[in-house]
Amino acid sequence: MSTTREIEALANQEYKWGFVTPVAEDSVPAGLNEDVIALISAKKQEPEFMLEWRLKAYRQWLKMTEPTWANVHYPPIDYQAIVYYSAPKTQKDGPQSLDELDPELIRTYEKLGIPLREQELLAGVAVDAVFDSVSVATTFKEKLAEMGIIFCSFSEAVREHSELVKKYLGSVVPSSDNFFAALNAAVFSDGSFCYVPKGVRCPMELSTYFRINAKDTGQFERTLIIADEGAYASYLEGCTAPIRDTNQLHAAVVELVAHDNATIKYATVQNWYPGDKEGRGGIYNFVTKRGKCLGVNSKISWTQVETGSAITWKYPGCLLVGDNSVGEFYSVALTNNYQQADTGTKMIHIGKNTKSTIISKGISAGHGQNTYRGMVKIQKSAEGARNYSQCDSLLIGDKCGAHTFPYLEVKNAGAQVEHEASTSKIGEDQIFYCRQRGMSTEDAVSMIVNGFCKQVFRKLPMEFAVEAQKLLGVSLEGSVG
């Protein structure tokens, strides 16, 4: 049928944001042992407790095995072939302002459409930009500091705010949590740290752009955000990466802590290199993200738009400890060509009257495989707990797949748990209807898919939502059928 063919033809466009920036790298040799970990720690001038923590995690990791339960398939990863640390050379002394940055770096960001200067001036977004493993620019820090907000690279936090780091690091995702979290704990390179003190509402969206650029360098980011009593923080994370022939491992950890009456919103737009049309190359994204609603009436909200990576393994979850605390998970995951995604959430209800909402939208195109895997666990203590889950899958073409694995564990008879799921195929009748009204097939597909994702997009900050819609359009090009 001609429409199917046209739609499939739309999917055959190359990744638009793939490029490599020629920046001199300062790398540690490939492979992992205690010496490499000590070297990483030394290069980052970390206090003793940090090295001990890393080594402990490494020893735990050695005893663990890579998980195989996810519905994803990839050749074995040789962990000794990975380079665990690299930093742009020019950054050794640490830049004092944007002017000190390697101009090549600035151009990279400009190609990505995120000129730091413009963001600083126009958008009012504080950017902690991670280029490979070292933070190279932090803006608006002073303004935030006036309010008592700490927003800096993780390395800096380890040096300057070690008491906070010591207190919260691993308190949500313990280093022994899982294979990839343990690996991250041993070798994490950098990331972001944010602390919002009591009663402070962070006045701007905090934002980080990650890039993977050093050849064969695994990225092991670590992010820790703490909202103290009554505080509010909203964090945006967006990623793109250059084209690579070899697979790149990414194992990040994000921990969020919300105290009494605090709210944290964490939004991700992830667009790492997904591999080429035959499924070669692309990022392996094995991420552990978890938030702890520690205090009463606290709230943590995850919103993710996942369009990149060859493999996505990611379950941002919430531990609902405080009474009346709220956890939310809004997700759009798109797989095209040979991409595989196994993603979802974990909502663990511990406190009384805790509430969670899960809205998951999976889109599969080409040969893409999209799995929703979600756990809702209501513990005995969670009187009056409520959960609502909705998982919708949209199929484009007939070579892709959608899978849903909801796990429910309810130990309190008074809890209310609702789960709704649907699978639909993008209809030729829908596309024809749009075309009969004058729209091109491409616009029709984009409109239909964006409509499908609307519930999630409206949870994103405005400018991010626009970016996400564009990204979805780009990711779908040449994929529809």
Binding site: Q430, Y433, Q436, R437, G438
Partner: protein, 265 residues
Amino acid sequence: MLEITNLHAKVEDNEILRGIDLKVNAGEVHAIMGPNGSGKSTLAGVLAGRPIYEVTAGGVTYDGKDLLGLSPEDRAREGLFLAFQYPVEIPGVSNMYFLRSALNTGRRHRGLDELDAMDFLRMVRGKMKLLGMDESLMNRSVNEGFSGGEKKRNEIFQMAVLEPRLAILDETDSGLDIDALKVVAEGVNALRAPQRAIIVVTHYQRLINYIVPDFVHVLYNGRIVKSGDRQLALELEQKGYGWLGIPNGTLSPAAVAGAESVLAR
């Protein structure tokens, strides 16, 4: 404006249209009638460029252009509008956004400026009134959760906004109660104009009591077996299709298997 010559078309392996000849001039209203499975909806679909149909012989010119050589979206941009028998639901896309996108693609095609949301709203308010469209329908997803009547009304509302030059109404009366039918017919009548042609496809006489056609054609087994003026429709009403030698209740099995099932899914 529209000239159909010896048009043959099939769906999968079933030949549905077996030589249609029809000429429609600007300003005219034509009714195409016939029993189920005679090929009425196929004809409407072929004219709009529905991909499931394959034209096997014959041709269609529209304003002197080869209509069949145009993509469905280009036909739409050139002013051809199909009011669907089964309007399609598009969850998450507001009726307002959808229609504005449609209008603006047409405007771009004609070299006009696009309308922003405010201008658009001003422009459509009067037309909403004409079709009795509640403002809440505009903010709901396209056809999602609409009643049968609301869907049909929405089709004619879109037609009123897009102001096509050739409108094809495919079984617009099906599923409408008499009040809704009157509203829809009034909407269509308000759009009758010297520069516009309308083709009304219907099984029943009912609709053309309200939208009075200039010409009536009876389609059977993929061919136009009789043409006339409004009188023909009235005779059909009294005597049934059997009067034309068409067995009562006859369904052409191939057509039913092909067209209707595909359209209804």
